[in-house]
């Protein structure tokens, strides 16, 4: 027997996903007077749910319908994704490097990858605005050695500790300048939120709000402006009018598995780079048999991620590695030019100094995966005070073969599971290896007792692409604001619209692009709905 469908009252905008990008759209539209509903598949977490524990921190990682993970380098979906309000930005490290001008012009400058339809300058104002909105600590003036000038950050750089400082001279000896990392955290009290206390639990969620997760920034603003957050609401389809010209809302299931429809004038998909394509593909109609906004066949294509080359250095001295933040104390763009490494292509972004914990994927028990038994215990005793790491993040180029597609197997709501097919190419492997080689040289220059490369399976970090932006419907899914080329009132938000990945942590750019898109949507509302 078919489940009866409950239809909600029509709203101006329904936003699918209450993470980084959805929160920005919700805040911007709600403050513009729009009636907004956010549908979030996971729980409505509160700050008090964010227990400082690697074990308990797994509650805010992916749950629900799994993605099937295939390819030579299957994407590590669960560790990267979020579950509940705040999304992945509830457990992100809040490193806030931006993309650089070269990222927007890769095709033009190097005849590789893709160009963005906009330049750095089109986003620069939004980077500056986001910094003020959420609170960023760093030294913007110093960063001008790598990027165009912008506004100062609202807070000075964070404190540094021995585990970060000892990399500065060693990097300089190899031509790498380390500057204070710019982070979405409070070095001082900001907007009523306290300063960071450097306890290193950022990655399981900051319960005091010193780190700018969406709960304490844009999602909070959205709620105060009247946006409704409906947690435990799993969207399965975008609904279209009979003509196939306009989105009219979404279908979703609540926690009791009751099916609903939520009519809306505008639909914004903000459910991350994997789920957005899954929804578009599952929303096929007779008018759009390949899925929505997919006349080009590019929905789900050009999935990209980052990879990291971690180099460990073990000291006999106490390097205060229990202090700091999970992300970074120092950063460098000195290997960011795409041709920095001979024989490989792609940017590298370097960070140094992070607080270490014992367990979980990033814990120092995993710094020597070959050890077990008494040997592991002996290592843990030494590493507890003496271990530190330099990390180099690398850029993966857009490759149309890396994709999200629908599988035949279905979830509990009858929606086909998504499949992520992902493999690194030779350029990525080349950058990864080159960064290990250089990292080892730098680590030796620190005077550490032991140094080694943290090699294992090539890691997959962050997720971008899948609904890329461009100028034409034939070669992209959305325009530079996230509006789909084919359906004016269907928008995509988040890293899925990136046509190239850069090597910078993506969330600052996600916030900036979302702000740019949301402001455009609000400004052009009358011509869109």
């Amino acid at each position: 027997m078919a489940t009866p469908v409950k239809s909600g009252e029509k709203v101006d905008a329904v936003i699918v996903g209450a993470g980084a990008s959805g929160s920005v759209f919700a805040a911007t539209l709600a403050k513009a007077g729009k009636k907004v509903v956010l549908l979030e598949t996971g729980p409505d977490w509160q700050l008090s749910d964010l227990i400082s524990s690697d074990i308990w921190g797994r509650r805010i990682k992916a749950a629900g319908a799994p993605f099937l993970l295939e390819g030579k380098n299957p994407f590590g979906y669960s560790y990267q994704s979020g579950w509940g309000v705040g999304g992945a930005a509830l457990h992100y490290f809040a490193n806030f490097p931006r993309l650089l001008p070269t990222d927007f012009k890769m095709k033009s400058e190097h005849d590789r990858g893709l160009d963005w339809p906009i330049s750095y300058q089109d986003v620069a104002r939004h980077y500056d605005k986001v910094a003020q909105d959420v609170g960023v600590s760093g030294d913007a003036k110093a960063e001008e050695i790598w990027r165009p000038a912008g506004k100062p950050y609202p807070m000075p750089p964070m404190k540094t500790f021995r585990n970060g400082e000892l990399w500065v001279t060693a990097c300089a000896e190899h031509g790498i300048r380390l500057l204070p990392a710019c982070v979405g955290m409070n070095s001082t009290e900001y907007k009523g939120r306290p300063a960071c206390i450097y306890d290193g639990w950022c990655h399981v969620g900051c319960p005091i709000g010193a780190l700018s997760n969406p709960i304490v920034t844009y999602l909070g603003e959205a709620r105060r402006a009247g946006a409704e957050v409906r947690a435990r609401s799993t969207v399965t389809r975008v609904l279209m009018n009979k003509e196939g010209t306009k989105a009219i809302g979404v279908e979703y299931y609540d926690a009791a598995r009751q099916r609903h429809t939520q009519p809306a004038s505008v639909v914004v998909l903000a459910a991350w780079s994997a789920q957005n394509p899954r929804l578009l593909l599952n929303s096929a109609t007779p008018k759009q048999p390949k899925g929505l906004a997919n006349a080009s066949g590019l929905v789900g294509k050009y999935i990209m991620c980052h990879f990291a080359s971690g180099t460990w250095a073990l000291f006999d001295e106490d390097v205060q590695n229990h202090l700091g933040t999970t992300g970074a104390q120092f950063m460098s763009y000195d290997r960011y030019p795409k041709t920095s490494h001979k024989g490989a292509f792609g940017s590298t972004f370097i960070v140094a100094g992070s607080a270490l914990k014992t367990s979980d994927l990033g814990g120092f028990a995993n710094a020597r995966l070959d050890l077990f038994g008494p040997d592991l215990h002996a290592f843990m005793k030494r590493a507890a005070r003496g271990l530190t790491r330099l990390n180099a993040f690398g850029e993966e180029l857009p490759n149309i073969e890396n994709r999200v597609e629908l599988a035949t197997e279905k979830d509990e709501f009858g929606m086909p599971l998504g499949r992520i097919v992902h493999s690194f190419d030779e350029d990525a492997a080349g950058v990864w290896n080159a960064n290990f080689e250089e990292g080892l040289k730098i680590a030796k220059a620190t005077g550490a007792k032991e140094v080694w490369s943290g090699r294992g399976a090539m890691p997959t970090i962050h997720l971008m692409g899948g609904t890329i932006m461009g100028t034409r419907a034939s070669s992209s899914v959305v325009n530079s604001y996230g509006q789909t080329h084919e359906i004016a009132n269907l928008w995509i938000a988040g890293p899925g619209i990136f046509p190239t990945a850069g090597a910078s942590n993506p969330t600052y750019t996600i916030f900036a692009l979302s702000l740019r898109g949301a402001e455009q949507l609000a400004a052009k509302w009358g011509s869109i709905v």
Partner: protein, 184 residues
């Protein structure tokens, strides 16, 4: 019934909800083992294998309750699970993975020495694990042995080093749970 306030307090200490005599009580896995709390899903011999494997991977894991930790975690809904398997893309139900892993361990041990893993001498257990982590065990039938090594090692690390007591034993401050000053 365990209330939310008790749950939050217990969570900060590493306690989980175990069932004793039909009632739910908050205990750490170490306490659950010490009190002989019955397993929910694991058979006794499966728990014995897990304890022996955990102890080989991380000294102290047996007494820290690695088998009770895993047993309790595979019995709760996947979205509540705190296992590292969750973030390693192991597909729920997690009990399927653990039972397959345990079966593979004991079959491979039997193929090598006609004994279950738990009954092997300690040096033979270490040699077994060393081959297991490198995917070099003969007669292995189940999830890739290197992956099983990684998951079970992570579980053992969790119960031994991932707790407040574990940090204390290593001589590093846990910098315990930050209580929110207010909600935004």
């Amino acid at each position: 019934m365990v209330g939310r306030r008790d749950f939050m307090r217990g969570a900060a200490l590493g306690a989980l909800a175990f069932t004793i005599g039909g009632a739910q009580v908050l205990l750490t896995p170490r306490e659950a083992r010490a009190r002989g709390v019955p397993f929910r899903l694991l058979q006794a011999r499966e728990a014995e294998t897990l304890e022996a494997m955990g102890e080989t991977l991380v000294p102290g894991a047996r007494d820290a309750g690695v088998a009770h930790f895993i047993d309790q975690q595979i019995s709760v809904p996947p979205e509540e699970a705190l296992l590292e398997a969750r973030i390693l893309n192991v597909r729920p139900p997690y009990a399927d993975f653990y039972k397959a892993a345990i079966g593979a361990i004991d079959k491979a041990a039997a193929a090598q020495s006609d004994q279950r893993f738990a009954w092997l001498p300690a040096d033979a257990q270490r040699e077994f694990v060393n081959l297991m982590r490198q995917n070099k065990l003969q007669g292995w039938q189940g999830p890739p042995s290197g992956f099983v090594y990684f998951v079970l090692r992570s579980d053992a690390v969790d119960v031994v080093y991932g707790t407040v007591e574990g940090y204390e034993a290593l001589g590093i401050p846990y910098q315990a749970h930050i209580m929110p000053l207010k909600r935004w």
